[in-house]
């Protein structure tokens, strides 16, 4: 094989890569959605008045953050069925990504919450607000703009981690490129295109995140 770029080939495989891109975006989006919600729950879970729960959560989350995502994907995919939970590759992948990134997002939320001035909590108590209202109406609305840059970075991160799902057979971009490569014995175009697609999607997203942070700050009058 020599270096020779065939444009015909590119147009030939383009539709397949486009479909795979959509699949990748869907995978990233779903995983992110799970992580956003689960991450908030885990962050709030570390602020209850039961120190045991806080300790368990903190240690578990640190474990998840310190170990490779690809290994966690394998673990969930293979162990799941063995304890009676049948999982398709897609679902196993979603759960693994969602769980892994919720551990990171929990940290981001935590930092945002801690950044809200103590006086805000005291004003809520002086007004006799419930804990739920205090979080939902006063603390989190101030914590989230602080957390947006971190949250945005992890969105880009999840997107770039979707190729790991290829190892359990999810048809995202990497898997499709591999498949094309082994079918046609041409790796140059597929792999390069995959790289280009990632760049084309992640760079603007990072820019959008910065924009979103500015807009949110202005809208919340802060």
């Amino acid at each position: 094989m020599t270096f020779d770029w065939k444009w015909d080939f590119v147009w030939e495989i383009a539709p397949r890569l486009a479909a795979a891109t959509l699949n990748t975006l869907l995978a990233a989006g779903s995983g992110y959605a799970i992580a956003l919600v689960l991450g908030l729950a885990l962050a709030l879970g570390q602020r209850t008045r039961w120190p045991a729960l806080t300790f368990i959560l903190r240690e578990t989350l640190e474990f998840i953050r310190s170990t490779p995502l690809v290994l966690q994907i394998f673990f969930i995919f293979y162990v799941g069925p063995q304890v009676g939970i049948t999982l398709s590759p897609w679902v196993a992948g979603m759960m693994a990504i969602g769980l892994h990134y919720s551990a990171y997002l929990a940290e981001v939320y935590r930092a945002g919450i801690v950044a809200v001035p103590k006086g805000q909590w005291e004003a809520c108590r002086a007004l006799n607000m419930t804990t739920r209202d205090t979080y939902a109406r006063i603390v989190l609305p101030q914590a989230v703009p602080q957390a947006i840059p971190g949250m945005g970075n992890y969105l880009v991160g999840i997107f770039k981690d979707t190729p790991m799902l290829s190892v359990i057979g999810v048809t995202e971009l990497m898997q499709t490129a591999n498949a094309i490569g082994s079918e046609t014995y041409r790796f140059l175009e597929p792999y390069t295109l995959v790289g280009v697609i990632f760049l084309a999607l992640s760079l603007p997203t990072a820019g959008l995140v910065r924009l979103l942070e500015r807009v949110l700050r202005r809208k919340l009058g802060m």
């Binding site: 006086g119 805000q120 005291e122 108590r125 002086a126 007004l127 607000m129 919340l220 802060m222």
Partner: protein, 270 residues
């Protein structure tokens, strides 16, 4: 005194609005309030003064349940604040009891603590709608009336970041009053203000005292103001009340040595 030795309720003929009974508060080995006994009658305006570290702010914060109590009992209108009855004796209160008791008490802070993502009006409406269950319309009427009273009605749709310190503090007072508390606490509400706007805030408090029947407790460094509007001045020193008296008596004829020292030091600072 053992917790079980405290009355479950104060008798109807001896029921001040606020009573601190043998109250102690310490942070580790540091004792901030030392066996404090203090009564505040209905409708009274009491100013609490003293050097920093004397425990005066802690008194307010404990009333607002921002600090826990280590010993003794606080009674609000005869009922214990942070304790409740269980099987005939007093035990530490649960959250439900605390919330019921807290409803009578409002507080204004040195650094205002307005909600930055809400307008002045929304700040005032928040408590009545979310906590008291008022309709938005009722809450708006009440809030606008109060903002009018503190002179901030034309800024009702502004966010705190666009208001001066004095303006923010006035909104904060309106916000606290919107909850119709029976007891109002003012924690050094002018200490963070530029001198030229202190007057706007003291004016509002002055009118509150004159026109309303609220029980008020104020920690302040503004001696002249305290003298003008208070029913009683209380000097704290190292967690205990050093001296308390009506303003005229307190400022013209202080009895205790430390009071005289304090008043001299304050006068020199003017």
């Amino acid at each position: 005194m053992e917790l079980s030795a405290y009355p479950l309720e104060l008798p109807p003929d001896d029921r001040p609005m606020v009573r601190f009974m043998n109250v102690t508060k310490s942070y580790g080995s540091l004792v901030v309030l030392d066996d404090l006994n203090l009564d505040i009658q209905r409708g009274e305006m009491v100013s609490v003064i003293g050097p920093s570290g004397s425990g005066k702010t802690t008194v307010l914060r404990m009333l607002m349940t921002l600090e826990s109590i280590n010993g003794g009992v606080i009674y609000i209108d005869g009922k214990p604040l942070t304790h409740m009855e269980r099987k005939g004796v007093l035990v530490p209160a649960d959250e439900a009891h605390l919330r019921r008791m807290r409803a009578s008490i409002g507080m204004c802070f040195q650094h205002f603590n307005l909600f930055p993502h809400m307008t002045a009006l929304q700040n005032c409406m928040e408590g009545p709608v979310q906590v008291l269950g008022l309709s938005k319309a009722e809450a708006r009427d009440r809030s606008e009336e109060l903002l009018k009273m503190v002179g901030m009605i034309d800024k009702k749709d502004q966010h705190p970041s666009r208001l001066s310190g004095g303006q923010q503090q006035r909104v904060a007072i309106a916000r606290a009053l919107a909850m119709r508390p029976r007891i109002m606490l003012f924690d050094e509400v002018t200490s963070a203000l530029d001198p030229e706007v202190i007057g706007e805030v003291t004016e509002v408090i002055r009118r509150l005292v004159a026109e309303h029947d609220l029980t008020m407790l104020m920690v302040t460094h503004q001696m002249g103001f305290a003298r003008d509007i208070s029913d009683r001045i209380c000097l704290f020193y190292k967690g205990k009340i050093e001296e308390q008296a009506a303003p005229e008596q307190f400022f013209t004829n202080p009895q205790r040595e430390r009071t005289q020292q304090f008043l001299r030091a304050v006068k020199d600072a003017d």
